[in-house]
């Protein structure tokens, strides 16, 4: 999708920037990987498709790129993460050329495998919001990643160039398959049983943290020696501490891109926690991360009539 446009624009942009951060195909089918394009002859490697999940804003924080003028491909959540990074003083707006891409959602390979068995790339044809499997046309909705099915902002809020046409629907309303709402409906005991089982699986590899575009603390509380919040042992109680602690650190900052969930090697739906916190913030503090750069983040401000009934 959009590849001609992306490549043509990248050639133009490479005159003024030192590199374009985008995606190229990975070594395995149905996987794209981040790609830093620095030469005009390399633009043919740039691709964009339904497997470009990784949040590229993460790569703006790497030491060598931080002070350079860089162009970056930004889906809606990448652009929101960039907005938060600018707001937090981590990157400079004048160093960035943001190439916005309206996003129809990223496809979860596991959901494809569940439905179609072993996958062959030649069996599939991809369109914006549908796919063709051996001639049969199917909606893309059921195969999207959980965070994409509950997406509220398919169009980037911040960009210099926009590729393609804006998405005209709100994915959460159209796909009507919000994992969080489903969990909200079960009893507290069932939810605990679910989460206890999930946290037991965590091996504390910190892939979630490392893939998160907004987890950029030089020293993470998980590895701090003073205070020694928690050890590296992957026991259920420590895992719970880590994930709850991380969700609270992300409060009012998480852009719900699902990078953590995608990176998890043991398939824990980790994004549920920060997404729940964002949902609380949306409902009670009227704030969404990365949409309006001038709005005060929710934990740096207050209102006198904030919810307080829980306090005696």
């Amino acid at each position: 999708m959009y590849e001609e446009e992306i490549r043509a624009l990248s050639v133009k942009l490479l005159d003024e920037v030192e590199g374009v951060i985008g995606y190229s195909w990975g070594t395995l089918p149905f996987r794209a990987r981040p790609f830093l394009c620095q030469k005009k002859e390399d633009v043919t490697h740039l691709v964009f498709n339904h497997f470009c999940g990784s949040n590229l804003a993460r790569y703006l924080l790497s030491g060598e790129l931080k002070e350079k003028k860089i162009a970056i491909l930004a889906k809606a959540c990448d652009a929101r993460a960039i907005t938060v990074l600018i707001r937090e003083g981590q990157v400079k707006r004048e160093n960035l050329v943001i190439v916005g891409i309206p996003c129809y959602g990223m496809v979860d390979r596991k959901k494809l495998e569940e439905r179609f068995g072993p996958l062959q790339p030649q069996d599939f044809e991809w369109h914006l919001d549908s796919l063709t499997f051996k001639g049969e046309n199917l909606s893309i909705g059921p195969f999207l990643e959980a965070t994409c099915q509950r997406c509220l902002h398919p169009n980037p809020p911040l960009y210099d160039h926009l590729i393609g046409q804006e998405v005209t629907y709100i994915p959460r309303k159209r796909w009507n398959n919000d994992a969080l709402t489903k969990l909200d409906m079960v009893s507290r005991e069932e939810r605990w049983a679910f989460f206890a089982g999930e946290f037991e699986k965590c091996i504390r590899c910190y892939a979630c943290r490392n893939s998160c575009p907004l987890c950029y603390c030089k020293e993470c509380f998980a590895e701090m020696q003073r205070p020694y919040w928690l050890s590296g042992a992957a026991t259920p109680s420590e895992n719970l501490f880590f994930h709850v602690g991380r969700s609270l650190h992300m409060a009012g900052r998480c852009v719900e891109c699902g990078a953590c969930e995608r990176a998890c090697p043991v398939d824990i739906p980790i994004a549920l926690l920060p997404c729940k916190v964002e949902e609380l913030i949306r409902g009670n503090f009227d704030f969404e991360a990365g949409i309006d750069p001038d709005k005060e983040p929710p934990l740096l401000t207050y209102r006198e009539n904030d919810p307080g009934e829980f306090i005696r």
Binding site: D184, R188, E189, R191, W192, A193, F195, A196, F221, W229, L230, T235, P236, S237, E238, L240, F241, V244, G245, S247, L248, A251, L273, K276, V277, L280, I281, N284, F285, P298, L299, L300, Y302, R303, E304, D306, P307, G308, F310, I311, R312
Partner: protein
Amino acid sequence: MVNEDRWEPKIVAFLCHWCSYAGADLAGVSRIQYPPNVRVIRVPCSGAVNPLYILRALREGADGVLVSGCHPGDCHYLSGNYFARRKFFLLKELLSWLGIEEERVQFSWVSASEGQRFAQVVQDVVESVKRIGPSRKMVKEFLLHV
């Protein structure tokens, strides 16, 4: 193992220096009786209570945590408790959504003149934690077996 018959809850209380700690002090000098289950930690302001303190207390074996500060509008630092209220709201909602008992983490506003009220709050907190029994879900694993 916890002996269920003789079990008494351990409550960690983070009290702000300017209001609740002074309120606890007033309860003391007024000789007001309240349950001895509470372990007081004095903090400069309820806004200085990092949610990680609360999680850590629970992980180290506290059966309940009480955080208490000045009434809204009375903060010595003008707005510390307003910021605290937002953080605590998110922590409390998230924990209870995950399935942790709501009584484990409690909050109150107690002013320096409310010795009687402090005693009552502690009484209520201890009673509610006694009702739900020893903490199991967030405690370090090896503490469950000693």
